[in-house]
């Protein structure tokens, strides 16, 4: 494998997007792959739009791809739509249908419904995995494990050069010990694609 692949990970500050980036990056490293995770810290993080870019390949140089994603993972619906234009044609989209409304939306601004954007998705996206991941993660583990649940969904699609063992091993490295069990449960629920629709 020579080409560098780009993954966009987006959501709302506080959803564990940086953690998800580190989890996947560690898994790639366990496979002997080179990896870069471009994180955003500081002010940009507090409850606002967060976008982390992960790049992997035999050798990676540039820290960020600034779009051009092979895969876009959205932990929140509005954020997924916000970044969708950066997904390559026929790319893979993993979209959480849970909506966290920013102030502008609470005060009346419209959030496009799934039915409205469905034509775009159908035309552009190669593979789509959707569901209310927050709801499922809450049921099987904890709302805060939504990120790890989504990692499981991504892995289940069989498009990444990493195995379940790689991700489990990475989870043992990055997860605080007291959340490890909850996170493992979330990972396996994601792998089983509980309440996830794949098209």
């Amino acid at each position: 494998m020579s080409a560098v692949r780009n993954i966009g990970l987006c959501g709302v500050g506080g959803q564990g997007i940086l953690f998800l980036g580190q989890l996947l990056a560690n898994a790639f490293m366990r496979r002997g792959l080179d990896v870069r995770v471009a994180e955003i810290h500081g002010m940009a993080q507090r409850g606002g739009s967060v976008l982390v870019e992960l790049r992997y390949g035999t050798r990676v140089h540039a820290p960020a791809s600034h779009g051009d994603y092979d895969i876009l993972v959205a932990l929140e619906y509005i954020e997924g739509l916000r970044q969708l234009h950066k997904l390559k044609r026929d790319g893979v989209l993993i979209l959480n249908l849970d909506v966290i409304r920013p102030l502008a939306a609470l005060l009346g601004e419209d959030v496009p419904a799934l039915s409205q954007i469905y034509p775009i998705l159908k035309q552009r996206v190669g593979k789509l995995a959707i569901g209310n991941f927050t709801k499922t993660a809450t049921r099987v583990a904890s709302p805060r494990a939504t990120n790890v649940f989504v990692a499981g969904v991504l892995l289940s699609l069989g498009i990444l050069p990493i195995s379940v063992e790689d991700v489990e091993g990475a989870l043992r490295v990055v997860s605080p010990p007291r959340f490890l069990e909850v996170n493992l449960r979330a990972l396996h629920a994601g792998l089983a694609r509980e309440e996830v629709e794949v098209r």
Binding site: V12, G13, G14, H41, G42, M43, A44, Q45, R46, G47, G48, S49, A62, A64, S65, H66, G67, D68, I78, E79, L81, R82, L84, H85, K86, L87, R89, I100, R101, P102, L103, A104, A105, L106, L107, E109, D110, V111, P112, I117, I120, R124, P143, R144
Partner: protein, 605 residues
Amino acid sequence: MSKFDHILYGREGERYLLLGNEAIARGCIEGGVDVVTAYPGTPSSEIADTLSQLASKGGFYMEYSTNEKVAVEVAGGAAIAGARAVTTMKHVGVNVAADTLATLAYVGIRGAFVVVSADDPNAWSSQNEQDNRLYAPLFSIPCIEPSDPQEAKDFTLYAFELSEKLELPVMLRTTTRISHTRGPVVFGPIKERRAKGFVRDRARFVMIPAHARTRHKVLLQKLEEAQQIAENAPINKVHITDSKVCIVTSGVSYGYVADAIKQLGEDIAILKLGFIYPPPVQLIWDFIKRFEEVIVIEELEPYLERIVKQVIAEHQDRIVVHGKNLLPRCGELSIPTLLKNIAHKLGKKVEESKQLLPIKVPKRPPVLCPGCPHRASALVLKRVIGDAVATTDIGCYALQVLPPLELGDVLVCMGASIGIACGIAVATGQRVAAVIGDSTYFHAGLPGTVNAVYNKHNIMIVILDNGTTAMTGHQPHPGTGIRGLGDRGVRVLLEDVVRGCGVRNVKVVDPYNLKEAEKAVRSLWERDEVTCVIFRRRCVLLEREKPRTIYRIDQEKCTKCMSCIRLLGCPAIQLVDGSVVIRRELCAGCGVCAQVCPSKAIVKT
């Protein structure tokens, strides 16, 4: 009568023997200066000393500030509020003021603001010989350089006009031999004063990242405008002869050049630059292209020499150097940006990636966390100060600027809230609130506080004490008493420090108790001296693990008036199927929403 009166009262056309620094003082007066601030330092001191003697008679404000940074903040704040202002300092003083100057260039000013940097070649009275011309490109502010006392006066006036036109700070750079040399100076007329007043414009004056990115572009546009002005500036002088060699010089060096070539009995072509940043590159090329050799004469750094070499390089076509003519000067690089801009030079074509247009979705700027004490303190402050001007500072609380709280009208750099508040208070005659966090206060708030007390500024200092350096990741600071080693140091209490700086009225309040806090803040606001309120409540992220009582909304009582959302913008309050609800997992239990609900519908669970 003081020995400086002629500098104020001297009439147009009259001629006096003035020290270069006195000439600059006269230039300030002719320019209609409103506010003068300074920290003394050789060779700059006599500018401020002269203006200090004349301020009351001349009807302008003058202060010695506690340091150069505070001096720039007070003058810059006044200039933001429409005043013409000047700050004078020695070269190393600019190092102290650099943090403020670098961002003041982004926000710019509405009146005029001239920074005088008096450099000291030969270190006659200094610890180094640094060349402050190099600061001009770093700050992206125009720089002009006089070469004798007459020019010191004239160029000061020019600097005010340039600053007013560009709405940018302008640096007037002198050296010891300009500042401390006497010569005849012919006076000009004195300008009318400008109308002053603060006009709220957060996108321009509050440098949160989103605004800063936009303002950087504006600054570069202004520099282009400055470049055009520089090309035709009357302060550049061209002397053409049929010599084979020409000379490019500026400032004090010109005097040496002029006399030295006279001694040689030669008439050599000279380009004397007054406008040295942005450099008038076309003027330079048009001048030097007719000669075989160029001698660049200047003290200290090869500043002009590099510019001349660059100009020549750009006009020779054997090896063409590309750089910023292809790539952006703002923001980051990326692979698409690189490919788009350089591929054609490598003989390749890049296909425009056929990306989708972005879908229109509501913006999600960063927000204060649920239960953040800064939300409550902003609410209290707005209730008390109403529409009055509030400056703010670097930290999470900069987010108070965004809707719905909208507190904070100017944000420049660490600690600048206090100095800028003083400047706006001077220019407008109104009381101003200066909002600053605890860690930021320890970092750079103390000199501003001492300055405000000493100079009797009409401000209220508001310290938001959340017991940590929250924005950067919860590091300790002197107010926490915890050291970098993780052990205990000595806790330095903010109220002791503020009182120690001479603020007599200091109150510590709990922002979660809106009523009590409002009462205390009102009593401090309704005075005309420096007062200080400390909102003390630990950062909610540090309290996450503690047991808490969360709140819920009684749907029978809720009238869906949306007051809680409109006033607070707390992320824990959401709309679900038309009902206002509190998300249990997000609620921090601060209880502030329960205090603002007009229907008492928000209750403990």
